[in-house]
Symmetry: C2
DNA sequence: CTCCCTTGTTTGTCCGGACAATGTGACTGC
DNA sequence: GCAGTCACATTGTCCGGACAAACAAGGGAG
């Protein structure tokens, strides 16, 4: 009785455009990713060896390897010496982007809205100064916002930014997310340090979010750095635990 | 007035052992990482161009690039065309490992302990079956544990595993973490899907964790997959929010 | 003095090849 | 029938070179 093994090598239509300015390895990796996404490359199927693949596409092996490697890093493929490269079974989404709540909600089709509660410049408290790496008492921008979805409060966001980093208008803050504005201002976000916890709501917080007093809240603190290592944002957020949770995918560091 | 720019090229003592079985690029990346860790390479300092570095070490440029690239992926270095490669300022730790609570506590010097509350085989409920990708009602291993630090309850852990995956003894579960046991059994963990939220403790939960009734709890659900895409573990954990929070570093996907 | 262009430096991409390490499967000897 | 061994397939590592693209700084024109 022949077992219907899924580990078959899949013939695949691939092509690259050498006149395109987009790198060849990137073209290839995108096509492979799309093929996986659309189920053309089924989980468990082998990709065919690199040498043959390179020959078929008219590329060199290093280029093909670079394409495959990027997908391995994303967790979509697994390589095994002596076996080949195969598609991972599990439904990997993406390993937790540095995303704003606004983008998350929008991606979920929730039509987010923002109320700017305060938008001022204040002297930095000791804590804020330490997080942002500025002098205590120096002036920082302070933004307090309420994020809504379907007209219901979802989260209360309090952010501090160094002054002079970018121009910010209240109107912009109500139309889109903070990260999008920062990226648009030419700031390249690089990394962030996050702490996620929970605690009971104070009466003021409960009132603000429309929760009963003492309700559990999900809290997040985040310091964001740009690629030069400067802290560009420090935020403390509180989410309605009854309506929001963090969901993300992790990859194991090889 | 000359500004004391930190962006200096740093002379560095590096060497590789060609007789070692460990890859050359890995030797180099480890030495560079150590130099950054120990502050020999200060934040903002340039690394010197790749060609010269390769020549100095007797390596080829691709090998040097591979070493540097791995550190760029870790977020320790930043490359800029026409400028060079420089060390990132911020204190990047690690971008959130697939770690067990046990390892986290041990790393923090908390001397973790485990009480195994239950260790049985049960028929899978619809939810567990869906998460693990097994048939509803088929037998799965169920482990309930209480994790303590300094004798105080920290978290209640409830895990489900497919049967036949590995041998597990209660004694082992009390001595170390589940992930360590799985790795020791030859299972290569690959990725995990996590959901983090918060809710109020039920009376039973409060009792178990030594919290007052209705206290906020931090909750985490996790499905872990191995490199073939099988789900190898599904767990629902509740943490005392007053004593525990998740902390992690994110990198921006280029 | 200011602005623009040129020039040089450095990384990004790509090639073609070579050998080593590892896992698979078939073959052979017992 | 079984186990050990050998050959094969495939990825891992490494080399040396070539050209393109982006950025910074210096020099020249206005």
């Amino acid at each position: 009785m022949p077992k219907p093994e899924v580990d078959q090598t899949v013939p695949l239509q691939l092509s690259v455009d050498r006149n395109s300015p987009v790198p060849l390895y990137f073209q290839l990796s995108q096509q492979l990713e799309a093929a996986i996404e659309h189920g053309v490359l089924t989980p468990g199927s082998l990709l065919g060896n690199e040498i043959e693949l390179a020959g078929r596409l008219g590329l060199s092996r290093p280029t093909v390897r670079q394409a495959i490697q990027s997908l391995v890093d994303k967790g979509l493929l697994v390589r095994r010496r002596g076996v080949g490269t195969q598609v991972v079974h599990s439904q990997v989404k993406r390993p937790l982007e540095l995303s704003s709540l606004y983008d998350d909600l929008e991606a979920a089709g929730q039509r987010p809205a923002t109320q700017v509660l305060a938008h001022t410049h204040v002297p930095a408290t000791a804590e804020v100064a330490a997080r942002l790496g500025v002098g205590e008492g120096s002036e920082v921008r302070c933004v307090e916002r309420l994020r809504l979805a379907h007209g219901e409060p979802m989260a209360y966001l309090c952010n501090f930014l160094p002054t002079g980093l970018l121009e910010l208008e209240t109107g912009q803050l109500e139309a889109t997310g903070l990260y999008r504005l920062m990226r648009a201002a030419g700031i390249t976000l690089h990394s962030a340090r996050q702490t996620v916890g929970a605690r009971a709501a104070t009466p003021a917080e409960a009132e603000r979010l429309g929760e009963p007093a003492g309700a559990p809240l999900l809290t997040m603190q985040r310091i964001t750095y740009d690629d030069t290592g400067r802290a560009v944002e420090y935020g403390t957020h509180t989410y309605r635990a009854s309506r929001y949770s963090f969901e993300f995918q992790l990859l194991v560091r090889s």
